[in-house]
Symmetry: C2
DNA sequence: GAAAATACGGAGTAGCGACTCCACTTGTCA
DNA sequence: TGACAAGTGGAGTCGCTACTCCGTATTTTC
């Protein structure tokens, strides 16, 4: 992602500007939501609008780049916890961290929701790295008996997105996580038919 | 809401049109999201744009009217279940129903999220009726030992909004509800410090 | 059933936001 | 260091959408 698809590498100043735009976009989208204008991003980055569009030809492509960057960072964090001595704490701690970040950074919720869609369709999309890293954390926590055995990474991604959404709007983050975590820890009992549609 | 704040009651045709607009707005917002244009609503209702704006002077006021109507309907449903013989089934069944509706009707998720904000601030806003009705269902389920005692209506509203969001984007509705319901049923154990931020 | 009051429809206005275009600047390479 | 390629900035275009205005139609009232 540091050189154009066709031809030479980017010029030094262009590379610098690209990074500035990406950073600015991340901040603007995180705080004010993804419907913020491209001009706002350009202003924050200290470049002209033309420059933004040169690097990211549509708003959608800019948004996508930001979301991918967010997901990659989360995936890296998850990967670091892979060999933690306490798999339960690693899993639940990571989950909490993501939700608490999302409460102030709206873009994360959207990234998770999109990645969740990907995960369900098993398309090797943007979120596959996070899904994979999360899968390892999940598996280890399950082996340690800290998380019920009948859930997969896809459900966790969806739960992550849902909790992030709820926490960002209504507060009550800790109460919600308490409920979700107890649900994740509980051994599946006999089906009481409660989830009928 | 059937006569203007100042003066005479609405003319018969105006009353008719108001209802048509409200119904059309509900459908359009539910299916295509709340960023659909007012013109789309007018077309669906079979009236001119001028008529829409005569009844609802801003788009925001139209949206609010739709959301309030949705919340009132949900509150009425909840109220009907108040005297059910099986409080657990009543509570969980209602919860499932709302989430499964929200999966296809985006407006519901937004209404719930707004109501969740209301509920937390104890503002007697649009969602207070639903929060109250839900509170009764919750309390009865708690007395019957079907739901843990340490959650209140506010958390349930937030959970409802979060699950609706997740179910609408990522699917996996039943899996998510299974986790959430087990979390709601579980007796609160010793604090394992998992919900730290 | 006619006058007065009320409501309707939809062309028109205003403003915003994504995206383009090109004269000008900056970096690269021999 | 000069020539050329690459990149920049921001005024301008285009399309979309919330909202207004007013001539016409409908309802109510007496």
């Amino acid at each position: 992602m540091t050189s154009p698809a066709s031809g030479r590498p980017l010029r030094a100043d262009a590379l610098r500007n690209r990074a500035k735009v990406l950073a600015a976009a991340e901040e603007v989208f995180a705080v004010q939501g993804t419907s913020s204008s491209t001009e706002e991003v350009a202003r924050k980055a200290g470049v002209g609008i033309g420059t933004v569009f040169r690097h990211f030809p549509t708003k959608e492509s800019l948004l996508e780049a930001v979301l991918v960057a967010l997901l990659e960072r989360l995936a890296a964090e998850a990967a670091e916890l892979r060999s933690s001595a306490d798999p339960g704490a690693a899993f639940f701690g990571f989950f909490s961290r993501v939700v608490s970040q999302a409460a102030t950074k709206q873009a994360i919720t959207e990234a998770l929701a999109e990645a969740g869609i990907d995960a369900r369709e098993t398309t090797g999309g943007a979120g596959s790295g996070l899904t994979a890293a999360l899968g390892v954390l999940l598996e280890r926590a399950q082996e340690a008996g800290e998380v019920r055995a009948d859930v997969g990474p896809g459900e966790i991604m969806a739960l992550l997105a849902g909790m992030s959404y709820a926490a960002a709007r209504a507060g009550a983050r800790e109460d919600l996580l308490r409920i979700a975590f107890d649900g994740l820890r509980s051994r599946p009992g006999p089906d009481r038919g409660a989830a009928r549609g």
